[in-house]
Each structure stands twice: as structure tokens, then as C-alpha cells.
């Protein structure tokens, strides 16, 4: 764990310092005004109206001080609150729109969008396992052993592709692998980070729930650089569980064609005149479905 978004303790120190300085400045201004007021009281002619009186006071003297104070406070609350909310959310792991630089400038827009490659061609385990998993480099090499994009780079292989070739020990000139090369894995930056206390399983949603990738990951086929589309907050999960159905469908003749796992419970409920509509009704909101 080496990198951070920013150095937290330095940041806090600067904020505190700025606040203290502002406070001191405010105090000094107050003292100045008090002194000026006292002088003006004693020698009303001696003191010419200052910049403040001429420019600000003359225009605002008719304003209602209560309203002004309230407006100022409201603006401050809005600005500081907005910043604080954003900051706090990031701190507790809500990283919507998080879009870090990746070691290889891979474009989903190109591969998934323009070329129309199926998501699960690369993210092979999304329908099998907890993790969708980032493809191993041999998947990249399936195409890029041949597709070296030399036409774009004056006959040289793409510099981004060279990173892959180097990692797997591939010589693009001879199209051979060097068996003695030291292979180094690519260190991708993880964008979607659920907290450790939440268990999420891709296959449950992709293979069983038949949820499209885009429902959670957004228009990934249009993303030149991937960002986190959803908040990944618990409320977001729960909302979806309250809305989406489970696969207990029947055909027109009333024959069950849904997932056979649910068949028995579906029949039992049917006898009672009930039926499942949403994931939530099947226990999809219970704590130990995701937290254990």
C-alpha cells in the first residue's frame, strides 16, 4: 500500500492553519474598526471615510443585517458542506467518479464500444465467480500477438502494447516468446472498491440475476478512461434489490421456465396465492446475504 490520494495529515494541518489565520485576520479587522470608531467618535471631522465606508457601507447600509448574515451563512454552509460531504464520502470509501490513471492506457470505448467485444471475452469469470477479474495477459495476446498497430506508429508497435510485450517476454519483431524473460504482471489500479465487510459476488448478478454489466458499471462502452459510475453504497444496492425481480417466470401455459432452484418455493407460494416479485422478498435485504 504505497500511494494515497493526498497526504491526509498535511492536508488537515493546512486547513487548520488557514482557519486560524482567518480568525486572526478577522480579529485584527475588528480591532481596527473599533479603534477607527473610537477616533471618529472623538474627532468626527478628522477621520475621512475609508474605503470600506465609501464603497461597501454606502451601498449596503440599507440592507437588512439579519438577512445578510443568514445569506452569508447559507452560502458558507453550502460551499463548505458540499466540499465536506464529498471529502467525507471519499474518506469512507464512496468514490463515485473515481477515475485513476492506469499503467496502460486501455480504452473500453475502443474495445467494447467500437469493436463490440463482449465484456466476458476478457472478464471471463464474471459469470463463474465472485470476481469479474481483470484478464490475464495471455488474453490480450490472443489478438495483440498479431495486432501490433504498426501502421499508426511509423512501423513500430504501439508503445502501450510494448508494455504488454515486455511484461510477457514477447518479441514483436520475431513474434516469439523469450522463455528466459522475467515476466512481470501489470499492476492495474482498482477502481471499484467495496469495503471488506461487504461480500459481493459477480456470478450471482451476471449468471443468476442476468443483470447487464452497464446497470452497475454505466456506459462502459463509451468510456475512454473508466470511472466509477455508481456510488456502490448500501442504499444503492438495497434500492436495486427492492426493484429487480428474480427468475421465477412461467410461460403462457403456466409452466415454470424460471431457475429450477426457485421452483419449489415458487410452487409453495403459488398455492398460498402469493408470488415473488423482487429480490427483497426472497430475503435479498437480509444482513447475512452480504455481511459475514
Amino acid at each position: 500500500m504505497s500511494g494515497t490520494f493526498y497526504n491526509n495529515s498535511t492536508f488537515v494541518a493546512i486547513v487548520i492553519l488557514v482557519l486560524v489565520l482567518l480568525l486572526i485576520a478577522g480579529l485584527l479587522v475588528g480591532v481596527m474598526r473599533m479603534v477607527r470608531g473610537m477616533i471618529q467618535e472623538k474627532y468626527p471631522e478628522e477621520v475621512k471615510p475609508g474605503w470600506y465606508e465609501r464603497v461597501v457601507k454606502s451601498k449596503t447600509k440599507d440592507w437588512n443585517p439579519t438577512i445578510v448574515t443568514l445569506v452569508v451563512i447559507a452560502i458558507m454552509v453550502l460551499v463548505l458542506g458540499g466540499w465536506g460531504y464529498n471529502y467525507g464520502m471519499t474518506e469512507v470509501g464512496v468514490q463515485q467518479d473515481y477515475s485513476p490513471d492506469q499503467p496502460i492506457a486501455y480504452s473500453h470505448e475502443l474495445h467494447a464500444g467500437k469493436m463490440g467485444i463482449d465484456c466476458q471475452y476478457c472478464h471471463t469469470t464474471a459469470s463463474l465467480s465472485r470476481h469479474a477479474s481483470i484478464p490475464s495477459l495471455n488474453t490480450c495476446m490472443n489478438c495483440h500477438k498479431g495486432a501490433q498497430l504498426r501502421d499508426k506508429y511509423n512501423g513500430q508497435p504501439s508503445p502501450e502494447l510494448m508494455k504488454i510485450y515486455k511484461a510477457v517476454g514477447f518479441d514483436p519483431e520475431t513474434s516469439t516468446y523469450d522463455p528466459n524473460a522475467k515476466k512481470t504482471p501489470i499492476k492495474w489500479v482498482r477502481i471499484h472498491n467495496l469495503p471488506d465487510l461487504a461480500y459481493f459476488n459477480h456470478s450471482q448478478h451476471v449468471a443468476v440475476g442476468k443483470v447487464e454489466c452497464q446497470v452497475c458499471h454505466g456506459p462502459i462502452q463509451e468510456m475512454e478512461k473508466v470511472y466509477q459510475f455508481s456510488t456502490l453504497q448500501m442504499g444503492w444496492c438495497i434500492n436495486c434489490h427492492r426493484q429487480r425481480g428474480i427468475d421465477v417466470n412461467e410461460d403462457d401455459n403456466g409452466k415454470y421456465i424460471g431457475n429450477k432452484y426457485y421452483e419449489q418455493v415458487h410452487e409453495e407460494m403459488k398455492k398460498k396465492g402469493e408470488h415473488y416479485v423482487t429480490v427483497a422478498q426472497n430475503g435479498g435485504l437480509e444482513c447475512a446475504k452480504c455481511h459475514y
Binding site: F5, E286, A288
Partner: protein
């Protein structure tokens, strides 16, 4: 009504010492001291608000952590079989005791995280013992050597090692290769290669625990040096003389699985084997016996000889002459002999003695009874002990006398566990010592060159645990350190051209060659984990008891104290003693975690004025241990002292925790005779040198105050009424709103107390599966153990069958005013027993106590008392009947724990991970590799408890959904149910009418614990049935 029992947990309970009844706060809480006078409180409301405001904002600021960048690093080339996030199971062998025990290793992303028994092999039958479960941590042990060591240089390379070793070996004229029993034909070939390459060399076998008494007796009586193939499932009468076959003796997992098959009666087949245990200490096996007779250690052989004579008298064999006549109180030896004769051909007599002559008598009894070929067999016997004391003593003499000039230790540690290890270490300093041990243990510390072997989970190997039966080891992880398989190392040193590489190609090839050459199919055998079948020659008996007779007649059986050394179920022989799980698990009988102690009977303690926790100086066999705490063990024979081996390791360890310098080494007290290494019968003296030690003893923790939780009956009662003890269903008036659990799943568990032997395997299995932290001795003393499942051990004095007003004490009955007809009553009712005993100075009722084991985990009550008191809804109920615990919601009020009548909730008093105060595997990177990635590691301040392994339930359900099918019975399994070799714990869906669990819920023995308080638990217990008849009275030793 039959006999009834008064249950109690520990001696201190009877003496009302540490547990007061209903008066938990003996002193008033020191409120004044803490808060002082009210006038002195100077802070006013405004100050309070200021402090409060400051702390809230300070906490809010402090809670902001750095949001770290996380990386996702994919494979370069993903192996075809690996799916990240999904476990893979490989069949391999447990290498703890070098016996080729077949296991399955659960591997996640290339690292094994859990071991379980291989369900398809007769040796494991799906079970794995506590030390086997825990042994996975030896792979991730920070004390392992990461490189070869040459002359103290810790980062030598292999070429350097090979050159240096071969130089040493070529110059040597008397090489000795010391190994543990070699069950691996591949290792055998490597040793043979060494022997032929170096003239003057020889091979010596060393095992820390010797079974040579058995193998030598079989050599003398049958001409076959082997441990017989015992078949406890076929025995109707089992008589064990001190053999702890359910705990530590030879192959306890297989034996208890077989034993249990004959121990669970059903209405269709109301039969049980009858088990007599005649022993000195209170062993796990003894606690499970139908009848248990304590005998002094020194008279072991005498009782055996007398049993032989009684059997011979009935069957017309020739008696052993010259031995004194000896009977059990109440002429019970005669009763046993009759039972054996009636069940001849279907009975089994065994002895835990390692004296060849004792074992010859055992052989003679089994032969007279015609048991060979039915309940035990020399065909397909076990190869797990080839140790020969004479050969090893000759080796020690050779080292001392200079006839051996170089010694190669292959994965054995005699400097620690040989009874003259200190002297051996002294003479080893004069010779060249090479070792392949994987840790820098006591023996390796003397080695100039250490060429560390792979861990057994990193190796290819074939083992022959039984004649004709082979089990296969395959690596389940790529090597953690720069190590090399010892079989390859030896082959290289013998000068062979071995293509060894990082992937141990050579030993892989040897394994395949061996399987092919011996009629196995390589792919299938590696997949299954074994091939072949346990068969062999079975020669006929041609023994003589002349030597045994004179030996036993000549044994002194004076009235002094005798010592019995034994292995504990957790740490066993001490080879892997630096494993926290082995020690954190309380001993099944004493319920002491961590400590090493001497046990004596209550009688001996009272007569000598000793108390539990006194420090004793122990002297036996010319060796003195200066200081060990004393533990009073109910049920232990008089004049017998118990002491566990496997402690006092001096091996260097990088961690500082409760395992460092734990206990004292008792191996030097082992007595070696020409008849075998003797672990019992040595004369011993005890001297009190101090007092006041407090054990970390869990037996009185989590009390349930004498409620009706344990039900027990005799087989005769069961035959009359299958629902014996469960006749009275409580009348429940419920305040709860009913919830319909009949749709979907309703998970349930059944615990059969007839099958549970109390071995503790489930405890360790649960800890590994659920990332349960190790908390150490001090925390256990404070009742803060974290185990999600505990095995309660209760003692019972017997209440007289007819009147229910008497407790059987020694030869007479003592009247006590018990409530008539009550099965279990308040604990303080039995506390008065000692008063009567104090008067006659006999304490006879302690000599013979009955013991029952009861595993208790979260009962997942459908009307859960814990859920109603949680102020933050951190514990809730699922529609599948699970009592869910949500850690991230818990604020740690502990209300739930207080309101739980079963006392199964555990509170995280500290953060146990990454905390140097708890320097166990949670505190280092290597040790954390064993963590289950599907289960949260809990932090400080939250409650936790058994979840019914909800991660496995969810995984199994998901598998079924993905494959578009119904969930099958047995797919969702808890870790405890999987670990149990006896199938004592069964888990499943109550709503599936064909499931095993649904049948068990309908079993007439099934009852729910504390059903009368309407908690509606999802766990049922099955009444314990013992095969006892009333006419056999267990009477104490006079």
C-alpha cells in the same frame, strides 16, 4: 426410570471456590472510589457540552483514514483450472505424523486455506483430527527456514550446499541417516541410493512415539513386524487397557470413525458395542466408555495377565502361572471376561502399553477369542511405526564412541524427544551434522548444514500407510521458501543426476513411475489421493507367554506413586508444538488451554494436602522437573500421576507469545527397556514447592446453571422407550409472533452425543474456517476465549436408580436430599457431597466419574433472545432461520451476549490482528495467508458468534442457482460438520423432507436445549445412550 446423573463441570464448582451461586459480585462495586464525592465534581453542564463537542469532532477527525489506492494484479498467464474467487480441492496427504493420512486441501488462488479428511479413504472417512486441522499453519510458519544454512550462514545457495555436503560425505566412513518411520517408497529409494553410494553408512529410524511394543510382539507371535489392522466397527465388545484410541493412539481419526459406527443405536437396530476402558488417567477414550475402571499405573500388566487367565479358564487355554491374582472391585474383571467370551470372534482387546510382553498377552487374548481375521487383522496392517529402540540406542552409542562420523537427520528431532536427548546433543557436537528439517529445531541447531525440505503441502510423494494401500501427496502451493524435496536432495547427494527444478519435476516423475509400476492409474490415483487396497499375508499365531509371565511376575507394584506419560490431543508428541491452534483448543478432558501440568487423583491430593494450582517438583527416572502446576483430575486412579509430553520446546522462534517456553520437556522421564520404550509405570515423587497458579481452564466458563441441557440413558431404557428422557415435552406459551419458516430453506443442525467423542477437531476447524483469532492464555483466564464452538465436558456422580435420593460414593451410598424424579438439578445440591467424604477421608466418589461431552454453538433460535435486546439491530433473523450477526453495525453493548441462555456469543475485547500483543499468525504476513478470504476479520468492540458457516451456505446456494437446479442435501456444510470423523454433527435444510437433518429432527432421541424457555433453537441434540446394565457396579479402588 433408570439411573440419573448430577452434572458438574469442575472441582472448583463443587468446592464453590471460584463460582459463587447467584452472587457474582461478591464485593460492592467501588463506585465511590471511581467517581469520588458528588461535591468534588467540578465540571458543570457547559463544560460537559464543551468536552463532548470536542470529543465528537476529534473522533470524527481521527476517524478519517487515508483512502489507499488498491491494485488489481491479474495473472500473466492464467492457469486453466483456476477461477479467481473459487476454491479448488486437491487430494493429498497430511504429513503431521508421517503416516500418509489422506486429506483434501482447499486452495484459493494458489494458497491452501483449509484441510479436511478425504471422504473416500477408509483411513480418514472425511474426518481430520485437531492437530491435522491446525497443521496448515506449519506451512505459513515464520519460523521456517527460508534458505539452506551452511555453517551458520543463512542464505546459502543449493549448489554450495551440495558441494559442501558431498565433500563431507566422501570424507566420512561412518555416515548415519536418521529418519522417522519411512512409509514412502520414494524416500526409501533415496535412502538406499545414499547407502550404496557411501560405504560404511547405515539407516536408523527414529520416532518420538514408539509403538515397538506392538510390532515386536507381533514379530514374536506371528513373525510379522507390523501394527495390526484394527476394525473397531466390527467389534461388539471392546476392552481397552489404557489405549487412548479415540484421542492419540496410532490412528485415532480412523478408529473413532469406525468405533462410532457401532455406537449409534436406532429403533430398527437398537444395538451398540460395549466398551470397557481400564485405565489410570482420564483419557478422551475413557470418557466415552460404557464402563470405566481406574487402575493404578503400576498394575497394568497384572490386570492384563489376570484377564487372560480368566478368559483362558473359560475357553480352556493354559493359564499364565506365577502372577498374583488381581480383580477389579465388584469382580468386574470376571464380568468383562464373560462378555468377551460371549462375543468371541467379535470382540477386541487392546492395550496402550508399549511393553512387548503386555502386547503379547493382548495378542494371546485376542487369539484365544478368535478375533484375528474379524476385528483385527495382520493383513493390511499399518506400517506407521518401524522404530526399533535397540537400533537407535546402538546409533547413539556409535556417535558417542566415534564410530559414526557424520549424521544426516531427515525431518526428525531426537535431540528434543529422545529420552537421552541432552547426552545425544553433547556427543553430536563431535561429529558432522547435516539436517533437512524445515525449522531450526533443537536438532538442526546442532547441524553445520541445514538443507531444508519442502513442507509436505509443497511436495510430491507416495506413502504406504497400510500394507498394499498407497496414498499420494501432491503439492498444493508453489514453494513458499527456497527449499528442496528431501528425497531429491538425498538422491543428488548420492551422486545421481537428478533434474531438479523449481517445480520438483524429479519427485513428480518418481511418483508417476511408482504408481504405474504398482498397478495404479496415475491420473486417477492422484485425483483420488490413494490406490490399492489394504491386504497382505496373515500368518497364524505361534506365540508363547513364558517371557511375559516372568516379566509381569517380576514387576514391582509397590504402593508408591507411578508416572504415566501421555500425549495431549492438541499438541500430541510436540513435533509441531509451536502451533497456536493446538494449544488454544482446551484439552478435551481437563479443559485447560496452553499449560503443561501434572495430574493426580482427588484422593492423593487431599491426603497429601495438595491443591489445584500448587507448584510441584517432579522426579522420575533420574530426571527432575523443577516446577509444574498440579491439576486435580476426577476419575484418575490413585497412586498414579499423569504428565503430558510434547512441551518444553526450546526451538528458536521469532514470535513472542504464550507458546514461547511453554511447559517442561517430560521426554527424559521416558524409560527405555529391552521390551520397548515405556511411557508408564516409572516410579515418581512429587514435592510441593509453591502454590497459587491459575490455569487457563475453560470448563467453568459460560455456565448454564444446572438447567436441563444434557440427557443420558442406558441402552435397555432406550430399547423400552425410544424417546427415553424426552417423554415430557414442555408446554409452551409463546409471546412471539409466529413466522412461517416452511418456505425456502430452514437451516438446522443435529448433534448426536452418542457419536461425539469430545476430540475437539470441530473447534479447530471452525477457528480456521471463520478466521477466529487466537487470544492467548491470559485472555482465556479472563473468560475471553473466542471459539465459536465449544465442547462442554460435564462430570457426573451417579444417582441411585431407584430412590433418586442417593449418590453412589465409593463402596457405600451417601444419602443426599435430592428432589425425587428430577433429572438434573442445581449444581449447589451436589456440593454437599464432599462433607460426607471429608469425614471418612476416602473421596471415593471422585475415583469414578462419568463424563459427557456436548458441543455447543449458536443455536440459531427462531425466537432469539439476543435479537430482541440489540439496540442497533446488529443481530437479526433471516428468513432461512439464521441468526445473523452484522459486525459493521455492532456497537458492542454486549446486551446480546448477556441475554443468550446458551452463552455462545463472543466479544472482541481487543483488535487481535496486526497487534503485537497477540503475536500469533494474525500478526504476520505469512500467517495471514491462512485467512479465509470469504469471511470478515473482525475488529475490536464487536460481538461475533457461530454463523452456521453462512459463507458456505451462500456458496452452495449460488452453485445450485448457476447450474439451474435444486440444492442437494449435504452441499451446504459447516466446518464443524465437515471436520467430524464420527458424523456427530449434521447440518442441512429442515425443510427438505429427504435430508438427513430432517430425519434427525424427527429422531426420538432428539431434543432441543432449554426448549422450555421457548427459544425455538435450530439445533437438536440426540440423547446419549450408554450400553450399561445396572448389575455392573463401578466401585472405586480400595
Amino acid at each position: 426410570m433408570g439411573n440419573s446423573n448430577k452434572y458438574w463441570r469442575g472441582v472448583e464448582e463443587l468446592e464453590s471456590k471460584t463460582i459463587s451461586n447467584g452472587n457474582e459480585f461478591s464485593d460492592a462495586l467501588p463506585m465511590d472510589e471511581i467517581f469520588g464525592d458528588a461535591e468534588e465534581l467540578t465540571a458543570n453542564r457547559r463544560d460537559f457540552l464543551k468536552f463532548f463537542g470536542f470529543s465528537v469532532s476529534a473522533v470524527a477527525l481521527a476517524a478519517c483514514n487515508k483512502a489507499p489506492i488498491k491494485y488489481a494484479i491479474p495473472y500473466i498467464e492464467k492457469p486453466e483450472t483456476v477461477t479467481p474467487g473459487m476454491p479448488l480441492y486437491y487430494a493429498t496427504n497430511c504429513g503431521v505424523y508421517n503416516e500418509g493420512f489422506p486429506i483434501l486441501a482447499k486452495v484459493r488462488e494458489g494458497r491452501p486455506i483449509k484441510l479436511d479428511g478425504n471422504p473416500n479413504s477408509f483411513l480418514s472417512q472425511g474426518g481430520l483430527c485437531a492437530s491435522g486441522q491446525g497443521s496448515i499453519l506449519s506451512l505459513y510458519d515464520t519460523n521456517r527456514l527460508s534458505n539452506p544454512v551452511v555453517d551458520g550462514k543463512e542464505n546459502a545457495n543449493w549448489a554450495e550446499v551440495d558441494k559442501k555436503v558431498m565433500g563431507v560425505l566422501k570424507a566420512s566412513s561412518g555416515l548415519r541417516i536418521v529418519t522417522r518411520t519411512v512409509t514412502s517408497p520414494i524416500m526409501k529409494a533415496s535412502i538406499d541410493a545414499m547407502l550404496s553410494a557411501y560405504p560404511g553408512s547405515s539407516h536408523v529410524v527414529y520416532d518420538p512415539i514408539s509403538y515397538s511394543g506392538i510390532t515386536k510382539a507381533n514379530e514374536a507371535d506371528f513373525g510379522k513386524k507390523i501394527i495390526p489392522n484394527y476394525m473397531f466397527d466390527k467389534a461388539e465388545v471392546i476392552v481397552s487397557f489404557g489405549a487412548d484410541f479415540l484421542g492419540t493412539w496410532i490412528s485415532p481419526v480412523r478408529f473413532s470413525a469406525d468405533y462410532t459406527k457401532g455406537r449409534v443405536p436406532s429403533p430398527e437396530n437398537p444395538k451398540m458395542s460395549k466398551h470397557y476402558q481400564i485405565e489410570s488417567l482420564m483419557s478422551v477414550t475413557g470418557t466415552n466408555a460404557d464402563y470405566r475402571f481406574p487402575i493404578p499405573v503400576s498394575k497394568h500388566g497384572l490386570y492384563l495377565a489376570n484377564l487372560y487367565n480368566k478368559v483362558a479358564a473359560q475357553l480352556g487355554g493354559s493359564a499364565i502361572s506365577g502372577v498374583a491374582s488381581q480383580e477389579l472391585p465388584g469382580n468386574n474383571l470376571e464380568v468383562i471376561a464373560k462378555d468377551l467370551v460371549n462375543a468371541r470372534g467379535k470382540s477386541l482387546v487392546i492395550s496402550g502399553s508399549n511393553n512387548m510382553h503386555d502386547q503379547q498377552i493382548v495378542n494371546a487374548i485376542n487369539n484365544l477369542l478368535g478375533n484375528y481375521g474379524s476385528t483385527l487383522n495382520l493383513a493390511g496392517g499399518m506400517n506407521s511405526s518401524q522404530f526399533d529402540e535397540q537400533a537407535f540406542d546402538a546409533f547413539v552409542a556409535d556417535v558417542k564412541g566415534g564410530r559414526a562420523d557424520a549424521v544426516l537427520f531427515v525431518n526428525c528431532n531426537p535431540v528434543y524427544s529422545y529420552h537421552r536427548g541432552v547426552a545425544l546433543a553433547e556427543s553430536l557436537k563431535k561429529v558432522k551434522v547435516i539436517s533437512t528439517n524445515i525449522v531450526a529445531d533443537e536438532t538442526s541447531a546442532l547441524a553445520q548444514i541445514i538443507a531444508p525440505d519442502n513442507h509436505w503441502l509443497e511436495s510430491w510423494d507416495v506413502q504406504q500407510p497400510a500394507e498394499g494401500y498407497y496414498t499420494i501427496s501432491q503439492p498444493v502451493i508453489s514453494k513458499v521458501f527456497n527449499t528442496r524435496a528431501a528425497s531429491e536432495t538425498l538422491r543428488i547427494w548420492s551422486g545421481a543426476d537428478v533434474k531438479t527444478a523449481d517445480n520438483d519435476q524429479a519427485s513428480h516423475n518418481w511418483v508417476i513411475e511408482f504408481i504405474n509400476a504398482n498397478g495404479g492409474n496415475a491420473d486417477k490415483s492422484i485425483h483420488d489421493g490413494f490406490f490399492g487396497s489394504a491386504t497382505g499375508s496373515s500368518p497364524s499365531y505361534s506365540g508363547s507367554l513364558d517371557n511375559a509371565a516372568s516379566d509381569i511376575a517380576g514387576r514391582k507394584s509397590g504402593n508408591g506413586m507411578s508416572l504415566a506419560l501421555y500425549q495431549k490431543v492438541g499438541p500430541r508428541d510436540g513435533s509441531w508444538a509451536l502451533n497456536p491452534w493446538a494449544h488454544e483448543m482446551p484439552d478435551p478432558v481437563t479443559k485447560v488451554a496452553y499449560d503443561n501440568y501434572v495430574t493426580v487423583s482427588m484422593h492423593d491430593a487431599k491426603i497429601n494436602g495438595w491443591e489445584q494450582g500448587d507448584w510441584m517438583k517432579v522426579t522420575a527416572n533420574g530426571h527432575t522437573i523443577e516446577k509444574l502446576p498440579l491439576l486435580v483430575q476426577p476419575g484418575q486412579a490413585r497412586n498414579s500421576v499423569g504428565l503430558a509430553i510434547g512441551y518444553g520446546r526450546e526451538a528458536a522462534t521469532s514470535q513472542k507469545n504464550d507458546l514461547t517456553d511453554l511447559g517442561q520437556n517430560a521426554y527424559p522421564m521416558v524409560s527405555a527397556t529391552s521390551n520397548g520404550t515405556e511411557y508408564q509405570g516409572m516410579s515418581v515423587t512429587l514435592e510441593k514447592v509453591g502454590s497459587g497458579y491459575v490455569f487457563a481452564q475453560t470448563q467453568t466458563h459460560h455456565m448454564i446453571e444446572g438447567r436441563d441441557f444434557m440427557r443420558e440413558a442406558t441402552l435397555d431404557e432406550y430399547k423400552e422407550h425410544n424417546n427415553v428422557r424426552n417423554e415430557h415435552k414442555p408446554h409452551i406459551v409463546s409471546l412471539w409472533e409466529e413466522y412461517d419458516y416452511t418456505k425456502g430453506h430452514h437451516w438446522g443442525m443435529a448433534v448426536d452425543m452418542n457419536a461425539c467423542t469430545g476430540c475437539g477437531s470441530c473447534i479447530v476447524s471452525c477457528s480456521i474456517e471463520n478466521n477466529v483469532p487466537v487470544v492467548g492464555r491470559n485472555e482465556i483466564r479472563r473468560r475471553r476465549e473466542m471459539h465459536w464452538i465449544r465442547v462442554d465436558r460435564y462430570y457426573a456422580f451417579e444417582v441411585d436408580a431407584d430412590t433418586h435420593t442417593k449418590v453412589r460414593i465409593g463402596p457405600s451410598y451417601v444419602d443426599q436430599d435430592f428432589q425425587k424424579g428430577e433429572f438434573v438439578t442445581k449444581e449447589n445440591e451436589i456440593a454437599g457431597l464432599d462433607k460426607a467424604s471429608d469425614e471418612d477421608k476416602d473421596y471415593g466418589h471422585y475415583d469414578n466419574v462419568k463424563v459427557v461431552h456436548q458441543p455447543v454453538m449458536c443455536q440459531h433460535c427462531d425466537h432469539a433472545p439476543c435479537e430482541t435486546v440489540c439496540p442497533v439491530l446488529a443481530t437479526t433473523h433471516s428468513s432461512e432461520g439464521l441468526n445473523q450477526m452484522t459486525y459493521n453495525r455492532c456497537i458492542g453493548t454486549k446486551y446480546c451476549g448477556n441475554n443468550c441462555p446458551y452463552k455462545v456469543r463472543r466479544f472482541n475485547w481487543f483488535r487481535y490482528n496486526l497487534n503485537p500483543k497477540y503475536d500469533y499468525h494474525f500478526n504476520n504476513e505469512l500467517g495471514r495467508m491462512v485467512l479465509n478470504p470469504d469471511v470478515t476479520v473482525r475488529s475490536r468492540g464487536v460481538m461475533e458468534k457461530c454463523s452456521f458457516c453462512v459463507q458456505n451456505i451462500q456458496m452452495a446456494k449460488l452453485q445450485a442457482k448457476r447450474e439451474n437446479r435444486k440444492l442437494k442435501d449435504g452441499e451446504a456444510q459447516t466446518a464443524c460438520a465437515k471436520a467430524c470423523p464420527n458424523n456427530a454433527i449434521v447440518f442441512g435444510d429442515q425443510n427438505d423432507p429427504n435430508s438427513e437433518i430432517a430425519k434427525l429432527f424427527k429422531n426420538e432421541r432428539a431434543y432441543k436445549m432449554l426448549e422450555e424457555i421457548d427459544t425455538a433453537p435450530s439445533v437438536v441434540y440426540l440423547t446419549k445412550i450408554r450400553n450399561r446394565k445396572e448389575e455392573v457396579k463401578e466401585v472405586h479402588q480400595s
